[in-house]
Symmetry: C2
Subunit: 427 residues, 2 copies
């Protein structure tokens, strides 16, 4: 499929000047960005009428299949929510369920301008298949955990090595990054094994890191240091990686992130809704720490909406730092686009540039919340909503346009999700 977008405002990369011009794609690849009229044969030539074309959002931490628990159990203490509601329901999920529920997440990603997700969940084969079938670029994150015994150790390590080789050669839309669930769910022996595996394959490592104060306190009690310091002491970051959440970070933790070039993936909505805290994002940004943004799972958010994450990523810092200039819009927009792509190892989708993969969102400027046009980047971060997503192109395919999903049967996917949650409730 060859596409030509003309009469476009183009933001090829956050930080570069927005200009009027054209963008062309051929198959999964961007072939042209510039001001000249492109001739030739295209399957579709789309007049953007002055709307904005820009890199799509990259959701750098999520548990997609948790769509089924959206608004299932909210406004309750964290431990009741997790242990009495979430875990028992998740235990009932089959691989087929996870496949269907991930497809629902894909609809939400696409309709919100997101084309790639860094996903950590059970049944990764089902997650991967849903991504392939919907056209979502999915990076699976290793989620192993386990206790102090040989069976857990063997299982965790063999699974990680198996997934690493298998998912990285499965399909162009799928890749796998080594990772584990969290320090507090993983015995130190397994952590050491993971560190060795990362070194063996020269791979970055990712995990939930310092999401709650009690998690950090527990790690200090167990190991005499914070999760970040512990992982650094185990040599886990020799080839980089990152942490999801990063809410409760010491200065030493931040120094480690900076020195190792690690990605701090912030999840501001989830961290508020679950009362985890507000990450020191402005401080990290000031230090030059690599930043990306994720939604976390839809059960703890309750949406997969990068616009809302952007808004909170900025304004929570302003109130946290008591400084209305903290965490400016451009830093946030960069973290949700280029930052997310790089955090997930998707440098080929980080910006709009000939040769890069065609992961694109078209923003409808012709809406009241985007008018007047004083500053487009600030409008996107401070006034934008998923309502402004006019079109989403994932890997060169138009997967969302004017409220519709041309390649997917949304009604069927909604029905499956409702069937699954109804079944689990009555099980």
């Amino acid at each position: 499929m060859k596409l030509r977008f003309y009469n476009a405002l183009i933001l090829s990369e956050v930080g570069k000047e927005i200009f009027s011009g054209e963008v062309c794609t051929d198959g999964d690849t961007i072939t042209y960005i510039g001001t000249e009229k492109q001739d030739g044969k295209f399957d579709r030539e789309i007049n953007l009428c002055g709307n904005l074309i820009m890199p799509s959002f990259k959701n750098a931490h999520t548990h997609s299949a948790m769509t089924f628990l959206r608004s299932f159990a909210d406004d309750m203490p964290l431990n009741d929510w997790l242990f009495k509601q979430v875990f028992p329901m998740e235990a009932k999920l089959t691989p087929d369920d996870v496949y269907e529920l991930t497809k629902l997440a894909a609809l939400e990603y696409f309709s919100g301008g997101t084309t790639a997700a860094f996903d950590m969940y059970f049944h990764p084969d089902s997650v991967a298949q849903a991504a392939i079938d919907t056209g979502l670029r999915l990076v699976l994150c290793g989620a192993v955990s386990g206790g102090d015994n040989k069976a857990d150790y063997d299982s965790a390590l063999s699974r990680l090595e198996d997934y690493f080789s298998r998912f990285n050669s499965m399909h162009p839309l799928i890749s796998f990054k080594m990772g584990f669930h969290a320090e507090y769910t993983t015995d130190i022996s397994i952590l050491k094994g993971i560190a060795e595996l990362a070194k063996k394959y020269k791979q970055p490592l990712y995990t939930h890191n310092s999401e709650t104060a009690s998690e950090v306190q527990g790690c200090i009690e167990r190991h005499g240091m914070t999760p970040t310091a512990l992982m650094e002491s185990l040599g886990m970051f020799e080839y980089g990686g990152g942490g999801f959440h990063c809410v409760h970070m010491t200065d030493e933790d931040l120094e480690i992130f900076k020195r190792r070039g690690l990605w701090a993936v912030t999840n501001p909505c989830s961290n508020c809704k679950l009362a985890s805290g507000i990450a020191p994002l402005a401080k990290m940004n000031g230090m030059g720490i690599n930043l990306a943004v994720g939604t976390d799972g839809p059960a703890s958010n309750n949406a997969l909406d990068m616009f809302r994450e952007m808004y909170l990523a900025s304004v929570l810092q302003k109130v946290r730092e008591n400084d209305a200039s903290a965490m400016p819009a451009d830093a946030v927009l960069k973290a949700t686009t280029t930052g997310g792509a790089k955090a997930m190892g998707l440098d080929d989708r980080s910006v709009l540039e000939p040769g890069k993969k065609a992961d694109i969102v078209v923003i409808d400027m012709d809406r009241p919340n985007m008018q007047p046009v004083n500053n487009i980047v600030k409008n996107l971060v401070f006034a934008g909503t998923r309502d402004n997503v006019k079109m989403t192109v994932s890997n060169g395919v138009i997967v969302y346009e004017d409220g519709k999903f041309p390649t997917l049967d949304a009604e069927k996917i909604y029905a499956e999700a409702n069937r699954i949650i109804a079944e689990k409730k009555t099980d």
Copy 2:
């Protein structure tokens, strides 16, 4: 115009059970809500296909015409923003400008499911005319201020009395509530005069109250007490009223609000973005203080989006109180609908009920962020966006439907707003 909405899910009032049925209107009034099929002659019969019909949002504190400064000057220290950017630009506004800019706000209100606004701004005749011409229910709030001299006193008091009588007999879409800008911009002599006027007309009084810590500190230095305590000591609340923002409130302040039945109108997005703080909303809710929600002006937000306010109104409390059960969804949805209406004196638009005015929003459930349907109220507050607004009915008129404004020329309004800001920039 007689309308019939059928195959609807109906939330007539927050707290009541959602049921399947029909809603009918005749002119500006709701004539039927129930489960029976309504026959008769209608101008339009609309199959809602299972979508949700509910009371529209009421924006209980805003400065609508500030649309022109949306994304004009963000990410800067508060005083630079206010004194170097906002005030000089506002000083250039003509009545015609305010008329056009308020119309842009009306588009944003309608497309986000809001049909009434409690507006405080210059040139109130222009604001009122824009509301009448767009079909928005507008409550003007007195915004007088002034120093320690007879001219200011006379001007403030005569203006307030004039506006009160004139705007309350102008048009069914317009009303006026007595109020003043804030304690810190109004001399004590004028505050006393306003208190007398409120008593004379047995009227509630509204003002910006305790938005920033420095405002409260300044009041304590000037008068030896907080703004709330000062106003109470002046007898300003004998007939009720309310405060906008209410971020920095003492226990005594909260007791006054509770005892007097005052409305605390929270503005969570603006309070974060301007680094003012997080209001003690959960505490107020627990005390049974009357709550409503507003956006504040679009220059300090930067949107007029009640979905985003709802989300922040809840999740900021969870993180503030370190309690994921704080400020539940139903309390927030009630504050944005029934609460807002009552705060503005619009009891006739507070809920869906025969005899009440037809201020209605239809929520599109057929979107990924509303699926599966575990809990509609929690979906609205925690996952909803303006993208879910399928139709808005203001005063019995369909003012927004499927992305379009059937009664308004949006393109012309956008062009005017862009012309105005361009002019002011080069003045």
